[in-house]
Symmetry: C2
Subunit: 244 residues, 2 copies
């Protein structure tokens, strides 16, 4: 197959944008919401050398059957794991966002239990590490338009957390209700009322109790697991605090 196959069929444009997929992988570490970033290679031939970026890259039209498959592949390459939750955030494309030319990117975000995975520095990424989302360490120092992409992913995540069970995908398979409540508080960045939280989560059927409790020094807590390991639950109302 020649390298220009499919580039010159009649009616198809000869000049095409290049197409990438980026993934914002979120986890909770040290009681903080963090995002997985990779460091770009320090080669003068590469754009933004040495800067941090969302993991991602070009579509491989011979290896990737679809955009989502491409996102899952890039996720697996960095984490060696299959994320329990993956969702498309949107797409961006313009002449200016990549110095190499007209480009589009399809942005996904993934949630996973951060302590369950091993980071995998890749051939094309000097380093891989978690960065706190709230911290200023990352702000404004990301390659390409990734600061904007990350902000969009965080905004989407925070918005959906108000009315879905998404934070459960940040926890290991078995967890307690206080664990889950803490995950909500970490993502939202504000405290959540305990009684209302428990009522809502249990009424919505997000979780089901298992026949075990967590033994700590204090009163033991009932262990739960997700009722639906793959799909999030949507709540009828939100967690938003009462307006004043």
């Amino acid at each position: 197959m020649s390298p220009t196959d499919g580039q010159d069929l009649p009616g198809l444009p000869t000049q095409r944008p290049f197409v990438t997929v980026d993934v914002a992988i979120f986890g909770v570490l040290q009681d903080e919401l963090q995002v997985l970033l990779v460091q770009r290679p320090s080669l003068a031939t590469e754009p933004y050398p040495g800067l941090w970026a969302l993991p991602g890259g070009f579509i491989d039209v011979s290896a990737d059957d679809s955009l989502e498959a491409c996102a899952r592949r890039k996720l697996a390459v960095k984490t060696g794991a299959v994320a329990p939750y993956l969702e498309q955030v949107g797409s961006w494309g313009s002449k200016a966002r990549d110095p190499r030319g007209w480009s589009t990117t399809h942005l996904y975000f993934a949630l996973l239990p951060a302590d369950s995975i091993q980071l995998v520095p890749g051939a094309n990424a000097a380093d891989v590490r978690w960065w706190p989302v709230a911290g200023a360490g990352v702000r404004g120092r990301l390659a390409f338009d990734h600061a904007k992409l990350l902000a969009a992913a965080v905004e989407r995540l925070r918005a959906k957390v108000e009315y879905t069970s998404l934070p459960a995908f940040l926890l290991p398979r078995e967890f307690t209700l206080p664990d889950l409540q803490r995950a909500y508080e970490i993502v939202l960045g504000r405290p959540v009322e305990k009684s209302a939280f428990r009522t809502r989560v249990l009424a919505a059927g997000v979780v089901e109790p298992i026949d075990r409790q967590r033994q700590t020094g204090k009163r033991p807590a009932q262990l739960y697991r997700l009722a639906s390991r793959s799909e999030p639950i949507y709540f009828p109302r939100t967690f938003e605090p009462k307006r004043d």
Copy 2:
């Protein structure tokens, strides 16, 4: 500039998907939610000849500065109008969705006052017309994967209508509250309670009264216009009917 410019820079993939933008343009006509479709040319060299499809097509990397600009261009070409509301729904891409090869599409949906525009049959589209969204006339007879795309756009629209002022963008610049309520009912496909509707819409500051009323045979109705002509308003709660 040679036709392969930008195709062979070092590090860039030589094989790229082709990139399209599609737009689901919605309007209310004959008391129904309708979508603008174009008929594909009846040429054997074109895929899906004669079938109906969402307006759209390839990115023109020399004419389009961004994906959204491309969507606005395609919208203007068919309607001659600038839509008061345009939102990205998502993107799809795979090897299989277009017989000509690996392709991606970026789907937008637009809302506009249907009676304010003139349809413009284009060079590459045999015909343009409105189709009822609910009707079976369109179902399963769309080109490419556009049935799926249209379903996604309708789903997004319906979901957002529950908690936003989107239907206002389907009305002319001046309208009455009963007009607006009717627009909600048409999009949602179910009746909306009058009193709660008015309370919510007015409390949210969606509209502002103008110094005129609509004279019909009956009691005249106060005319309003959008408080914010460009941005939709988000309600704190939804219009969903009480569960049983």
